[in-house]
Every structure is written in structure tokens, then in C-alpha cells.
């Protein structure tokens, strides 16, 4: 087995070594290309941050321009030393990113790309329109205005130092709480938000980091090249930067470095080779570009995750393949009622903890929910049933903060939450699962649970970067609690598998485990038994009862009536968005309206 896998394991290292060789050849032939290589690598990292957070931003060239011109102007016109001019330029980029991030980051995908592309062009137009300051369209004024000594003082070692620092920051971040939040955000923003991750804040953080890194690259570029021209920051530059990250792979931080290493060296070396070759090839001036374009195409076709994907998944160490045969043995361990992380409060059934008061949600003219009111008492299990399309999932979305009611109030422990964003609802103690499982499919089962701990880990980025002992402590605690939780649910033997490869039923149970990692007081289960057979469903019912015994309040949406009848204290029945019945299982199953609309009369 090991023998057969050996060559495969070497492929990524071979790719890495090949790229390093290319770059060594590049630099040996012309040492001046080293600065360009390093700056491209830094730019690649700036594109990585946004891509990694699932933001298709093309603003990098614009921020690079801001960084370049700001530092140059401060150095030349204000006479600031480089050690002040460059940080000031980076801060300027950060401020601009914060201001434009607020409106722009509401957009996603291609809309964000177009908008940020526009931003880059606006920056360039401003440069042209302010010739007194920037040298205008020609850029010539600028370079004559800059004394050569002032400008050409950025040494290669400074740029290298910055790149090493950034690599360290990304390396430490990748296995931290922040890194996990970015990965979760990238895979499934909705699920991330209902685990207490503030996705707006993380998107802004990514955009801010990206802007500051691009700004720093621009500032060093200005001080290294010695002259600036607005043409350096065109749309093509933005595309180049993005292709570093895409080709290298946006899954892991070192991917963009590989991409930049390849795409910087390849066109230059090809040009030299073609230039030196026999006459008729020399006629094709575009040949080097065509060939490097072809190389990009080949990598993207054969390695869709980018070069870095060959190194395996981000948290690859643990991707265990030992899926032992699991039979009914994966049932929750009996006689082990405590759930790791859930403080056992006993079943202290008392007063309403969640109150729905006249909740209405209309989509267009259609009322998916219409003046629904009921109270949920602490420590009890509520069933929510009704025909397909009766508004059950809409209700779960409203309570978990993914959607807001058109009218009515939702009170949680006495406080109105109907306008709270999902991450605050989650942090207030409401967890949920989804009708169509929403796991982070490319992350391991264990990492999925880790993300569930997000709200309970306090380590910030600074402590991650400074390697404060608190982080190690918290990470260890989170790892242990995750494993204990998985063991408790009988999922320990699949902890290392990536969640997307699991069978449907296992995915559902992992999703419940992830919701429990949030340590909720109220758990919303949306069709937890869909795709389970009767024995598995019965086992799920047992788990739900054990959760109740541990003090949790539950709302269960289900069509499996056996499950509902067995576990629920109260059942609420919806039909066409209205509550048509509420009561004990016995009461509800006798209700003629319920029989008519839902159960059938047999």
C-alpha cells in the first residue's frame, strides 16, 4: 500500500521543487527579477485572503496603486522616510477598504467582481485626474519629480522579510479559530452564521487584510522600481494577481506562492527561450504568452483545486481512512447521559423560554406563515408537523435568525430576537440542523465540530500570531471536547473522514453533533430522520430523549410520526402557514382537522 502510494505522495513536492528551480533560473539570469518575484508573491497572498473567504474581489490592483502612490507621494512631496511612508500607505489602504467594504461586501460572486473591478478603474482615473500630485496620465512628471536616491531604496531583503512575515501570519492562522471560521465561511456561509460566526465581520476582515497586503506590495513596488505609471495598475494586473491565487490554489496559504512563482517565471523564461531559438519562431511575439496561458489552462483542467490541492486537504494530517466496519455498535453509549459541553441542568421545566407572537412571513404576496403564536417551555420537546409547504422550515429559519418575520415578535428568554442576525441568535443559545444537510463537506468531521466551538473559543488573531499559551490551551480543550462529543454520539471512528464522503444518515448525526458543540439551550432539528430507516430513527429518538434529559429544549420538524409520537411533549400543527392545532400527541392525533390535512384517516 505504502509502496504504491509513494510516487503519488511525491508529486506535490516535485511540483514545488520544479517551481523553485524555475525561479532560481529566473533570478540567476537576471537578479533584478527577484524583486518582481517577491512582490508578486505578496500580491498573490492578498488575492488569497479574499478568495479564501469566498470573495471574488478584483480590487487588489486598485489597492496596490493606492499603496504605491501614497507612499511615493509621502516620500517625495512630504519628505517622509521610507520607514514611515510605507506603513502610512498601508494604513491608508486599510481605511479605504473599511469604507468601501461596507457597501461593497453586501455583494457576492460575479457582482462583487464587477464592483471591485470598477473600484480599480476609479483609482486609476483619479491618478490621471490629479497630475499635480501623481504625475497624471503619463506618469513622467512623477518620475522626474522623484529623486532617484529617495525612491530606489527599498532593498530586496526588506521585501523578502515582509513575505516571510506574511507567510508566518498565514501559516499560524490556518490552523486557528480564525482560519477555521474562514474555511467555514468559504464552504457554507449560512451554516457558519448559525454556528455563531459573524460572517459580515469576517468578510470585512478578509477584505481589509487583502487591501493592506496589496497596499504594502504597491508601496514596496514604488520604492523598488523608482517610477510609477498608472498603466501598471490596469485591469490586467488585477487578473494576473487573481490567477496567481487561482492557479496556486486558494485552499491553502502556500498555494498562491506556488502560483506566483510559476506565473512570474514562466512568461519571462519562455520569452528568452523563444527569443533565442530559431528564426521563424521569433516571428511570433505572442508565443510566450500563449504558452503560459496554455500552462494555466492545463493546471486548471487537471488540478481544479490549484497546485496546492496536490498536497491534500487543509487539515490533511487527520484524514483517517480507517473506517472500521460499523454496525449497530455505533449506537450512543447507554448509561452515559452527560453530553460534553452541555451543562446538565436537569429537566427544570419552567416558564416559556421561547415565545412566538403573531409571527407572519410573506414572500411577495404569499404568506408562508400567517400569525403563528405559541410558547415553548424550557426542557420540553416540541414537534412541528404539517404537510409539505406548510411553513415549518420557514418557521425554523425565523427562529434561528436566518430570516426575519414580516410581522410579529419572537422572544427568547424574554428578549426580542426577531431582528437579530443569525450569529447572535446562535450565540444566545439557539442551535439548529438543516433539512438538506449543510455540513462543511470538505472539512473533516472533527473540524466540523471544532467550528461549532467558535463562539466558545476566545483566542483572537493577535494571540494566534504571538503564539500565546492561551491558544494552545483552548485548542486542546476544543479538540478534547470534540472527540468526547463524537464518542458520545458514536461517531468517533469517522472523526477523520471528510464530511462530504459520509452516508446521508451519518451526515445528519454529525450535523446534530456540530449543533451541540455550540452548547445550545434550544435545539431546532429540521427533519433529522429523513433518510434514516426505522431502526436508525428509533436510535435518533433515543438521542433526542437523552438531550432532553440533559436539560435541552428541542423543536423537532419531522414526518416520521412514530418518532414524533414517541418523543414529543407538545405538537404544533401547521397547514398553509397557519397553526391549525396544538396539544399533546394524543390530542393532536384525534383532531379532525389534523387528520384531514396531514395524517389521513385510517
Amino acid at each position: 500500500m505504502i509502496r504504491r502510494n509513494f510516487p503519488r505522495l511525491l508529486i506535490p513536492w516535485f511540483i514545488g521543487a520544479a517551481i523553485v528551480c524555475l525561479d532560481v533560473v529566473l533570478v540567476v539570469r537576471n537578479p533584478g527579477d527577484l524583486d518582481r518575484l517577491l512582490i508578486n508573491a505578496i500580491l498573490a497572498l492578498s488575492a488569497f485572503v479574499t478568495l479564501h473567504a469566498r470573495l471574488l474581489s478584483l480590487a487588489n490592483a486598485g489597492f496596490m496603486a493606492i499603496g504605491a502612490y501614497t507612499s511615493a507621494i509621502l516620500a517625495v512631496k512630504a519628505g517622509l522616510p521610507m520607514a514611515l511612508a510605507i506603513p502610512a500607505a498601508v494604513i491608508a489602504c486599510g481605511l479605504v477598504a473599511l469604507v468601501i467594504g461596507l457597501p461593497v461586501l453586501r455583494l457576492t460572486d460575479v457582482y462583487l467582481a464587477i464592483c471591485t473591478l470598477g473600484f480599480g478603474e476609479v483609482v486609476r482615473i483619479l491618478i490621471v485626474l490629479l497630475p499635480g500630485l501623481t504625475g497624471g496620465a503619463t506618469g513622467a512628471n512623477l518620475s522626474t519629480g522623484f529623486p532617484y536616491e529617495v525612491m530606489h531604496q527599498a532593498q530586496t531583503w526588506m521585501i523578502l522579510l515582509l513575505l516571510i512575515l506574511l507567510a508566518y501570519l498565514f501559516w499560524t492562522m490556518s490552523s486557528s479559530r480564525t482560519g477555521r471560521a474562514f474555511r467555514a465561511l468559504r464552504e457554507n456561509p449560512r451554516a457558519a452564521s448559525t454556528l455563531g460566526i459573524n460572517i459580515v465581520a469576517y468578510r470585512n476582515l478578509a477584505f481589509l487584510m487583502s487591501a493592506m497586503i496589496a497596499g504594502a506590495a504597491g508601496a514596496f513596488y514604488a520604492h523598488s522600481v523608482g517610477s510609477l505609471d498608472n498603466g501598471d495598475f490596469r485591469f490586467t494586473r488585477a487578473v494576473d494577481i487573481l490567477s496567481f491565487a487561482v492557479l496556486g490554489g486558494s485552499g491553502q496559504w502556500f498555494g498562491p506562492l506556488l502560483g506566483a512563482g510559476l506565473l512570474t517565471a514562466l512568461p519571462i523564461l519562455l520569452r528568452d527561450v523563444v527569443g533565442a531559438s530559431i528564426g521563424f519562431l521569433r516571428g511570433f511575439a505572442q508565443l510566450p504568452n500563449i504558452l503560459s496561458g496554455l500552462a494555466i489552462l492545463l493546471v486548471i483542467i487537471f488540478m481544479p483545486g490549484g497546485l496546492a490541492a496536490a498536497f491534500g486537504p487543509a487539515s490533511g494530517r487527520a484524514s483517517g481512512h480507517r473506517r472500521s466496519k460499523r454496525t449497530a455498535a455505533s449506537a450512543p453509549v447507554p448509561g452515559h447521559p452527560a453530553f460534553p459541553g452541555l451543562a446538565s441542568r436537569g429537566s427544570n421545566a419552567g416558564g416559556p423560554t421561547l415565545v412566538l407572537d403573531g409571527v407572519t412571513r410573506s414572500f411577495g404576496g404569499l404568506e408562508a406563515l400567517s400569525r403563528v403564536s405559541f410558547d415553548v417551555e424550557e426542557g420540553r420537546i416540541y414537534g412541528l408537523i404539517g404537510p409539505n409547504g406548510s411553513g415549518k422550515t420557514t418557521l425554523v429559519n425565523l427562529v434561528s435568525g436566518l430570516d426575519a418575520p414580516s410581522a410579529g415578535r419572537i422572544l427568547w428568554q424574554g428578549r426580542e430576537i426577531q431582528r437579530h442576525p443569525a450569529h447572535l441568535v446562535a450565540r444566545a443559545g439557539i442551535g439548529r440542523t438543516y433539512q438538506n444537510v449543510q455540513l462543511f463537506a470538505e472539512m473533516s468531521v472533527r473540524d466540523n465540530i471544532h467550528v461549532g466551538h467558535h463562539a466558545h473559543i476566545r483566542t483572537d488573531l493577535l494571540s494566534t500570531w504571538l503564539r500565546l499559551p492561551r491558544e494552545a490551551r483552548e485548542e486542546k480543550a476544543s479538540r478534547e471536547e470534540s472527540m468526547a462529543l463524537l464518542e458520545r454520539l458514536g461517531l468517533a471512528d469517522i472523526a477523520g473522514q471528510s464530511a462530504g464522503t459520509l452516508s446521508y444518515g451519518d451526515q445528519r448525526r454529525v450535523e446534530i453533533a456540530r449543533a451541540l458543540a455550540l452548547r445550545p439551550r434550544l435545539l431546532l432539528l429540521d427533519e433529522p430522520a429523513a433518510g434514516m430507516n426505522e431502526v436508525e430513527t428509533a436510535r435518533l429518538g433515543q438521542l433526542v430523549l437523552e438531550l432532553k434529559a440533559a436539560g435541552l429544549t428541542l423543536i423537532v420538524v419531522e414526518h416520521h410520526m412514530d418518532l414524533i409520537m414517541e418523543v414529543c411533549d407538545q405538537i404544533v400543527v401547521l397547514n398553509f402557514g397557519r397553526k391549525i392545532a396544538q396539544g399533546s400527541p394524543a390530542e393532536v392525533t384525534r383532531d379532525p382537522q389534523v387528520l384531514e390535512a396531514y395524517l389521513g384517516k385510517d
Partner: protein
């Protein structure tokens, strides 16, 4: 000759083997139920039959022809069609457009019009909504539409992957009635279901899959009374 003859089927996902040498046959005109725990390899088997994943070993002979290595659309043309788990209807298209697309492999044939009428007969609730965007249908209607769309390709063998999933109890009952009606009209059916009891009730023959291998098979009625089966899949009534 059996309609479908599967010998020693193997399916791998990367390093994980989901189906480990599964052999079975489906006779013409039958409903065959395929049951088993989560992760037993049921969906993988269906995906291998319909060409959605490529089997890594064994043979799949359908009406005497080998299917392994054939493209999914060719398999539909050969008369084997799958209704995917989770329905996969085309939400922005109308009900009628969804059904018409189901007949893509036989476009131009005059009999399509008659088949369309037959679908509306079989699923009366779709007839009333033929102009509606399919995404606006209820869960049960979407399932009916997915089945109807598959039938529009005029298959000899219909593969159903968990058709009752996520359906309200009232709809589950009518769904299984419909499945029997489709079979009576001449289409053979291979049915994967978590609702094992219902599946055993409507089917003639049943296969029980465990860890990618055939664990038991026999007439459905006898499996309904089998102690092991009851313990593993049915639970107490």
C-alpha cells in the same frame, strides 16, 4: 433472460469501497426493493447502474448489453432511468417543460404527446399546475414530477432513490400506490427505500445490502417476516 443482470459489482470513491461485489437480477415486470442501513451502498449501486459513477469492477448487463463504461445519456436511451434522491427537478422551468425534457432522448417522436397526457392522468395534481414553475410545487408534487419526468423517457427499468424522503405521511401512502400503478402499466422498478416496511409491501422481490455486499434476498413477503430483517431495519411495529 433477466431484464437486468448485475455481477460482482464494485464501486470505489477514492480509497473507500462502497460496493464490494454485489450480484443480483431484476426480472421484467417486477418491483425489486433494495434496502439496507445508511452507508450500505444502495445509492452507490443505483449511481453505477445509471452511469452517474463508473463502476470499478464487475458487469451490468441490461437487456443483454453491458452498461459499464457507457455515458449516462446513452444508458437513458437504452431504457434505464434514475429518479435521483432529492428530486433534482428544474425549479425555474414549468411543470410541463420539466416533463417534456424528460422525453429529450426521444424528441420528435409523435407518441410524446400521448405520454404527456398519460402523466397528467397518473399525477392529476400536476395537470392543474402544468404552467407553474416547478420550484413552486410542494415537496410531494415535486417528487411526482421527478418520477413523471423519468417516465417520459419511456424506460424499461425505473430506478427510484428514496422517493418517500421528506414527504408527509398522507403523501407517502399515495406515492406507493402510484409506484404500483406505474409497475402495472409495464415498467419494471428497482426501489431504494429507507421506509423498508412500505418497500417490502409493494415489491415482489427484495435485496438486503450490508457493507456493500448482498446480505439476504428473497420474496418480499418472506423478508417481512424474517427475524433478522425485522431487527435490523423494521424495528418493532
Amino acid at each position: 433472460m433477466a431484464l437486468l443482470e448485475v455481477r460482482d459489482l464494485q464501486v470505489h470513491y477514492g480509497g473507500i469501497q462502497a460496493v464490494r461485489g454485489f450480484s443480483f437480477t431484476v426480472e421484467e415486470g417486477r418491483i425489486v426493493a433494495l434496502i439496507g442501513a445508511n452507508g450500505a451502498g444502495k445509492s452507490s449501486t443505483l449511481h453505477a447502474l445509471s452511469g452517474m459513477v463508473r463502476a470499478s469492477g464487475g458487469s451490468i448487463r441490461f437487456r443483454g448489453e453491458e452498461l459499464i463504461g457507457r455515458r449516462a445519456d446513452r444508458i437513458v436511451r437504452a431504457g434505464l432511468v434514475q429518479v435521483p434522491e432529492g428530486r433534482a427537478i428544474l425549479a425555474p422551468l414549468s411543470v410541463q417543460e420539466n416533463l417534456e425534457l424528460g422525453a429529450w432522448t426521444r424528441r420528435g417522436e409523435p407518441s410524446i404527446r400521448a405520454d404527456l397526457a398519460r402523466m397528467y392522468e397518473l399525477f392529476p395534481s400536476l395537470a392543474a399546475r402544468r404552467k407553474l414553475a416547478a420550484g413552486r410545487l410542494s415537496g410531494g408534487e415535486q417528487q411526482m414530477l421527478a418520477i413523471g419526468r423519468a417516465l417520459m423517457s419511456a424506460p424499461r427499468l425505473l430506478l427510484l432513490d428514496e422517493p418517500s424522503m421528506g414527504l408527509a405521511p398522507l403523501l407517502v401512502a399515495s406515492l406507493f400506490t402510484t409506484i404500483e400503478a406505474i409497475n402495472r402499466a409495464g415498467t419494471s422498478i428497482l426501489l431504494v427505500e429507507q421506509n423498508a416496511r412500505q418497500a417490502l409491501r409493494v415489491s415482489h422481490h427484495a435485496l438486503v445490502l450490508s457493507h456493500g455486499r448482498l446480505f439476504r434476498e428473497g420474496p418480499s413477503a418472506s423478508l417481512l417476516a424474517d427475524r433478522d430483517i425485522i431487527e435490523a431495519f423494521l424495528g418493532k411495529e
